[in-house]
């Protein structure tokens, strides 16, 4: 008993969340049961409005579930947030306009009390990780949309949290950069054994990255399928042409289509 709870980094049981709006309640999540173990890479996929962001926000204790229980690192989501257990990449870049790119990346480092030298060193490292060397001194509005998004990824990576929650981090990137960042992310994951929750709309991306893929469906938002990946941990880019990969991708697509089907 003890074992399973400690190994489950994120554990949701019967999770539900209903928003009250001006024209009636919106059930964003219902009955979500999910347990994510240490070192797992779990992708969330599903039509827009199905509750992916809402679920990630619950895990991050930015939203409070109306029903069910949720534990993160064996404690409440809020306690985990207070222990700075995770880094979060928002769906929109959300850079502070009065800070330069480097200043934005420095923000969490300042708050968490990293030394000045350490800050500089980390900023350099993550800027080059997301291919933004030389843009540290620019202001957000001087960057293209994709560059802003990369800056926000860099910001979340800078302080090396054990859990990474990423909400469509690569949505605004072209395939080449995306491939590169996918590879980098996998390397980072392999190296550091982070636990990663990852929202994406790209089936190949989900399959390529994940150890498990959670398919969700809207109105009310819920989990309709959970697909275990049988791919090895070591994944060169051309693994995407293997039949195994294509089979998994197919299963995900079917799951997605089913989710769409019962509402359109």
């Amino acid at each position: 008993m003890k074992d399973t709870t400690t190994s489950a980094v994120i554990e949701a049981r019967g999770l539900g969340l209903t928003f009250e709006t001006n024209d009636g309640p919106v059930r964003a999540l219902t009955d979500v049961d999910l347990s994510i173990g240490k070192g797992e890479f779990v992708s969330f996929i599903g039509p827009s409005g199905c509750g992916k962001t809402t679920f990630l926000r619950c895990v991050a204790a930015l939203e409070h579930p109306t029903t069910g229980t949720l534990s993160v690192n064996g404690m409440s989501a809020d306690a985990a947030r207070q222990a700075r257990a995770y880094g979060y990449v928002f769906q929109a870049a959300g850079l502070y306009p009065w800070r330069t790119i480097a200043g934005n990346i420095r923000l969490p480092l300042e708050i968490m009390g990293f030394s000045r030298a350490d800050q500089e060193e980390r900023i350099e490292r993550v800027l080059s990780l997301v291919d933004l060397e030389g843009f540290g001194k620019k202001y957000p509005w001087q960057l293209s949309g994709g560059m802003q998004q990369r800056a926000s990824i860099a910001r979340a990576l800078a302080f090396d949290a054990d859990i990474l929650l990423m909400d469509e981090p690569f949505g605004a990137l072209d395939e080449i950069v995306r491939d590169r960042l996918n590879e980098e992310l996998l390397k980072l994951w392999a190296r550091t054994e982070k636990t990663i929750g990852f929202v994406t709309h790209s089936i190949p991306e989900a399959v390529y990255l994940s150890t498990r893929i959670v398919v969700m469906s809207p109105r009310p938002g819920r989990i309709t399928d959970v697909i275990e990946s049988t791919l090895p941990r070591e994944r060169p880019l051309d693994i995407r042409d293997t039949p195994e990969f294509i089979a998994i991708a197919h299963r995900v697509r079917e799951g997605l289509r089913a989710g769409h089907g019962d509402e359109v």
């Binding site: 991050a60 204790a61 930015l62 995770y86 959300g94 502070y96 300042e110 708050i111």
Partner: protein, 287 residues
């Protein structure tokens, strides 16, 4: 420099309207006086007279300009007839009051944003405090402060601070609450302390509101300093000038003092505008 032409144009228009108004408003007196003396006056005479009256209803621009010139440059700055001397006295109370008011205003706003009890209880009473007619309680403030052994600059500054803290509170409460949900959520994911949220998000985000408030606040401070001069016997300062001009019907003197006060206020507002531009530019917010 590009603003010279527009300002001159606007000024010219104002001066033209002003002259016309001066002739119109002062002519009643001219006609009355002529009637009392039993003489007829031509329009030319009326115009000449209205622009040179000693107690005009509306002094002509050149009369005010001359009064201002005499007051500013016509004597040593240490002379009691110098507007520079009186202006300085008022300015010093204004600056002290503005500093106190701003610090108080920001502190209160921070408290209100962070503490529900303060939000609910302080704000309504801060509002109520501002509806108290300052001129009515200024004498009491002076008397009470006097009993506490405070005289001179400080009581005036307190009144000035009392008027200026409010715009700062209102603006800053709004400004400190202006960051959107995502910007706040980001800091929550870092479990940032309240102080961090304040320093790194709320304060920078509130700057546009802060500067608008400061401009209003500094003008209010000046009014407060002038009002504060009255219950101390109005011995010195622009308020004293205004009032004594008023006692003796020295219209031109009133207007000169009024303009001096407005120059001080406009100068302070422009100074804040300058600081605003510089700091927004340094923060990359000026686009």
């Amino acid at each position: 420099m590009r603003s010279i032409l527009p300002i001159l144009t606007v000024l010219l228009a104002i001066v033209a309207v002003w002259y016309a108004a001066a002739v119109w408003m002062n002519s009643t007196w001219t006609y009355d006086q002529a009637a009392r003396a039993g003489v007829e006056v031509t329009f030319g005479e009326v115009v000449a007279d209205t622009l040179a009256q000693e107690r005009p209803v509306l002094p002509a621009p050149h009369q005010v300009a001359k009064g201002l010139w005499d007051g500013l440059f016509g004597q040593k700055v240490t002379s009691k007839r110098s507007l520079v001397y009186h202006g300085w006295i008022t300015l010093s109370a204004t600056l002290l009051g503005f500093a106190i008011g701003t610090v108080m205003g920001i502190a209160l706003a921070v408290g209100i944003v962070h503490n529900r009890a303060m939000d609910m209880s302080v704000m309504p009473w801060a509002i109520a405090s501002q509806t108290i007619p300052i001129l009515a309680i200024a004498p009491m403030i002076i008397v009470v402060m006097n009993a506490l052994g405070l005289q001179g600059l400080v009581p005036k500054s307190i009144i000035s601070a009392y008027l200026s803290f409010f715009p700062v509170v209102v603006g800053m409460v709004k400004g400190l609450r202006s960051p959107d949900a995502m910007q706040l959520d980001l800091l929550r994911t870092y479990n940032a302390s309240a102080a961090d949220v304040l320093l790194k998000l709320r304060l920078p985000a509130s700057l546009p509101y802060l500067f608008a408030s400061l401009k209003v606040g500094v003008a209010a401070s000046l009014v407060g300093a002038i009002v504060g001069e009255l219950p101390t016997g109005a011995v010195a300062g622009l308020g004293a000038r205004l009032l004594s001009g008023s006692y003796y019907g020295q219209t031109v003197l009133i207007w000169a003092a009024l303009f001096a006060a407005a120059i001080v206020a406009a100068g302070l507002v422009m100074l804040i505008g300058l600081i605003e531009r510089i700091s927004l530019r340094r923060m990359g917010l000026a686009r």
